[in-house]
Point group: D2
Chain length 384, copies 4
């Protein structure tokens, strides 16, 4: 990680630097086996406790397309997807994530995945027929951070619906954009993901070097996944993108019309990190879904890494609107390969919420405001 | 006011009825003199304590057009305005509103205004040359509610800039839309405004008949002004409209870029009342400015009056996002005709904030939710 | 009409002036009876030759809401409408317009309508139960220009669907905005409409004073109807408005997806006249429908009249995109009160198409371009 | 190329297949040297004949940012660019393209570029200090198709302006998206570009196998460049992208306000190919610039290739709006490495314009319409 003195302050108030090795006090060993060549985040398998309620949320409210379904599972995709699905809803007893699934470039990358994780001592399973419908030969692992990851290449092709404007809704979700994971030790997680071939695009730090969150990508957007500091392993959210900002507003309007506005957790707003326009929803099980649009291209190898000061009140919302506490504290369980929830380990590093909100925290709008660096608390908090 | 039993519940959760006489325990007498024929809210004269800072806010940030200016005043208009100005900034010692100014249909309507207010015992002054530049023969009064109102017809015409897209900004403000006034006794205020020829379009009530706010119009939009229950007379906000929702988002983005996000007080969001998309800002003196778009046509005489339940958590934000307390409690002083701030009288009716937020209040998303009508507190509050 | 020397040239290239009497060589006499007080254009009754095909177009493609229907008629409304309907589709043998219907302020205005048209010698019929469902006491006339006009006040109220975002489509039509009529003698028509209480907002003229078209309003938008010079009486189009421009683009995208793009006749584009964003479609019978958004407020009595030079190539499309010839030449028949098509009288004044397009016409982008006033023909034409 | 019988017809009317080898009757030999690893199209060097006029167009009208400039050159970038420039305007005597410049992954890829083109017998020049300011070690070649290509890796980093909303305009151009080249023999060009490592995403063919155009990518969008069949080598256009569709409409509106609408050549509209929203402008020298937004992700190795029937009237405009003839026939000269215009070779394959427009051509909206496959000519043509 670039030392703060070697970063460049931009005219927008954040810093840029070139990606550098991350120091971890407790690193995962770097395997000698090469990492598989990951194309992109491809789908999430979600366990839901009321399949009908979840289907209503993702299909009737959010408008995802049903590729296929049966009595226990629904396979969904976004408008422009041509692989079989971006989201699997599976009926179960405990709401949790069964897999963060990534597509790899070639069938041979599955062999690399097996070797890579086996060398790390992880549990690895391979299913030539795939773990879910429409997906072929697949590898599932519990990674060193405790997350259930899947890798696959083979998939049934389905029709891209980008030109099917007769089917589109005002809040049309066009792509799966990224995952977001909660983990107690962010530098350890980032270092491991770098070994897996991910590139860091942005992070949030403080002057003491504590890392609160980091964003990492394979495809050339701001992220395929992010690591958010907190008790984990847990799943923070899965994100779909829209073409325009009004599509996101339309989802809010529709939720109001359905008298389901209480599933809006945070936003809509503009992120500082990623510069994207966003909205966070909670599904019937409390799984968090982000709707997201308009980040930037990151595909050049020297793409500048953006570092935000944790006390910058515009880092998580460019308009300074408050982050609700639940957004910091609540997240979904993740499962091991037998479907048992992974134990959650407490974060011991500083909490982003605590250092920025409430009696012990502070945030600033302008770094150089008088009286020592900004107001205590956050905008809404100041008036409560 | 239509009794609650005679209103019709809509499929959206609010009620509609036909406008009916408002009962006031302390009515202003209805003058025998006919009211002037008011066209629309036309401009506000704002006293500001740092003219350069206010000019920067309204011109450099919000993009209003300067019709003319001098060392003590700046005359501003919105894109499609053809009268001289929609906002006057005047340097002074106390931040306050000097006039809520309305345009009347004919020069003769000024005589009617004089007679109407004189009969009510109000202080009335007439200035044939106008109280502000670019405006001709004008009448100013302190109305029975304590507000400084102006009426005029004659004005210098200036060029409409609707076609001057080379001058437009991403957050272009195209029209002055409405005023909003804070007054302790809303039914008394509404009844007086009906006598002045205003029509009620929406209101917020509770089952006991307490009226928390009401919206009234002359031009066929949801309002030219609204009466918000609170300590008054004070000015709650002045509102400009944009063409599209993204224009409002662009203002937020720009404020972030300028590191002035702390002037965003509330929003952006979708109102329940008016169905408009909104944003509330605070100018350098704390005067509140709303940016607003896409309400509905109200010009038919039998336009349905919309009544919202004060406990409906979507009434003020259709997405259920919380109203910050400052929005309920803070407002601008108003001046008498000598420039002295009007004394503020406390509201004795129930407070909307108190009955909906915090320990004593409750709001619901779905009226018929179990356990007696919804959760205590509001969405953000529930997680704090 | 203001003489061209007394108009003011704006920085946008058109002229403004105050509305003035229109000279007509063949005026309709001004009745001594007062005109009814018209609120707004309210609905059109369209005769269609294949009701199922028309219903599919207006309901399935354009998303208008069905208030009610039977085997021979469909009653449709836009999102924010609270009167019974804005469009009636009625099965018949000849595609035509049966009525341009306007709402009046009071029931008594119907008596005024009867007296006004009777004095003019027009055929007048009154139907206390209404000519269409959901409408009460109504008066229908064939006006001196040959058009079937209706006036009514009483109507069944229906629910405004503005808050029902769960029903909205990407191309949501929120209001009926205006009608447009084809008539051979525009000054004669304008003078008659002024007598009926309409106000002129914009027109297209040449330096010789020929008037090619004029826009007139009752509600404070650019128009409730317009008079387009051509063989008439015929109906040029009926227009619905959307909230935003992307809604109009969504209609085009959907028509492409349905492989019905050939019903797009002209646009989308930006009008010079009205400054609105527009699209023209043709329904299954060839009736023209405009989709329209974002004109400007015109409700002040001294609202400046905008006059465009017929040779200004940006008058009909601000981007200079060509007007297709069919838009100038094709229009719908109108019916008399017995349902018989009105005979069409040829225009004898200059044709706007001929003076601006092709071998005999010319248009300019910049008035003062060299070689005497611009290029021959129009943009597309120049490359054909 | 996949035989038409092996393609899959989609519900949108075009075909999909997997990318297959392209047959060329006159192939460029495949080098044994490996191709350089190209990241993306990076900038175009344009020779302009009036630098001040071109600067006004790209900076004052289109809002590109000036990284640096001198008396003979202006270096411009789009909002989110962090390399030195995306466009160089250089004063010269003949309007032409001096370089299509691509960024490669590593400095070593320049050695590969030298070897690759040298083996093909092309003229190759290397300039360690770069051919333009802000760019380091660079290789320029005249490729076998006659185009001046540049490859570089080293570049000065500049600040990304994505968060600088205070600088943004309504028509903000956020990225360089792609180039488009005119070449007589499309299959020959496609086969060569495949050898260079490009992947085909879409093409236009007829039933006889004539290829009229093809789109190819390195970064995972629809293209970094396209090959358009016509007399060549020439440059068809350079394209910048916006975030939303309204940004493109704002450019049109601004051009109207500046009375420069005659630089709008085609659009705005929706492409069939790429599904993007588009606009084509002509700069003061006639160089064509596309403004483009919202195509789809193409980064998976098995991304389906889309093939359009040349007679499908929605292939180039999804709304069926006509392609103006100049768009087919006019293009910019390209220069050799000494700055001399390359000779233009005539296309001998069928012309897309001739087979689709006018007396000899036909296009259909619905493939299976009666009377043998659609109407003669195109929509506008049918009414001329």
């Amino acid at each position: 990680m670039t030392h703060k003195n070697d970063r460049t302050l931009t005219s927008s108030g954040f810093y840029v630097s070139q990606e550098a090795p991350i120091h971890s006090d407790d690193p995962v060993a770097t395997p000698s086996s090469p990492a598989p060549d990951i194309l992109r985040c491809a789908y999430m398998e979600l366990v839901v406790t009321d399949l009908a309620a979840s289907r209503a949320f993702y299909v009737d409210v959010l408008g995802l397309y049903v590729t296929t379904e049966d009595s226990r599972s629904v396979y969904l995709r976004s408008t422009e997807e041509f692989i079989h699905h971006n989201l699997v809803l599976r009926q179960g007893n405990v709401a949790a994530v069964a897999a963060f699934s990534y597509r790899v470039r070639t069938p041979e990358d599955l062999d690399k995945a097996v070797a890579f994780y086996t060398e790390l001592g992880c549990e690895v399973r391979r299913e030539p027929g795939g773990f879910t419908r429409g997906i072929g030969d697949s590898v599932r692992v519990v990674d060193p951070l405790g997350f259930p990851y899947e890798f696959f290449h083979a998939t049934t092709h389905v029709e891209r619906l980008s030109w099917r404007y007769d089917l589109h809704t005002p809040g049309e979700l066009v792509r799966l954009d990224h995952f977001n994971q909660v983990t107690p030790d962010v530098p350890r997680a980032v270092k491991f993901m770098q070994d897996l071939g991910f590139r860091v695009t942005e992070d949030i730090q403080d002057d003491e070097g504590t890392v609160y969150a980091a964003w990492m990508r394979r495809k050339p957007t701001v992220h395929d996944t992010a690591m958010t500091g907190g008790d984990g392993p847990r799943m923070h959210h899965v994100a779909f993108s829209t073409h325009e900002k009004h599509n996101i507003l339309a989802i809010c309007d529709k939720l109001g019309a359905l008298r389901r506005s209480d599933c809006i957790e945070r936003g809509p707003g503009r992120h500082g990190v990623s510069n994207a326009f966003y909205l966070y929803l909670r599904d019937p099980d409390g799984h968090r879904v982000e709707i997201y649009t308009q980040d930037y291209y990151t595909g050049d190898p020297d793409n500048p890494v953006v570092t935000w000061d944790v006390h910058d009140n515009q880092r998580r919302d460019w308009w300074g609107n408050p982050v609700v506490p639940s957004w910091y504290t609540e997240a979904s369980l993740v499962l091991d390969l037998d479907g048992v929830p992974q134990p959650v380990v407490a974060r011991t590093d500083d909490s982003e919420m605590e250092v920025t909100v409430g009696a012990d925290g502070f945030s600033y709008t302008r770094r150089d405001d008088v009286d020592g660096g900004g107001v205590q608390g956050f905008k809404l908090g100041a008036t409560l």
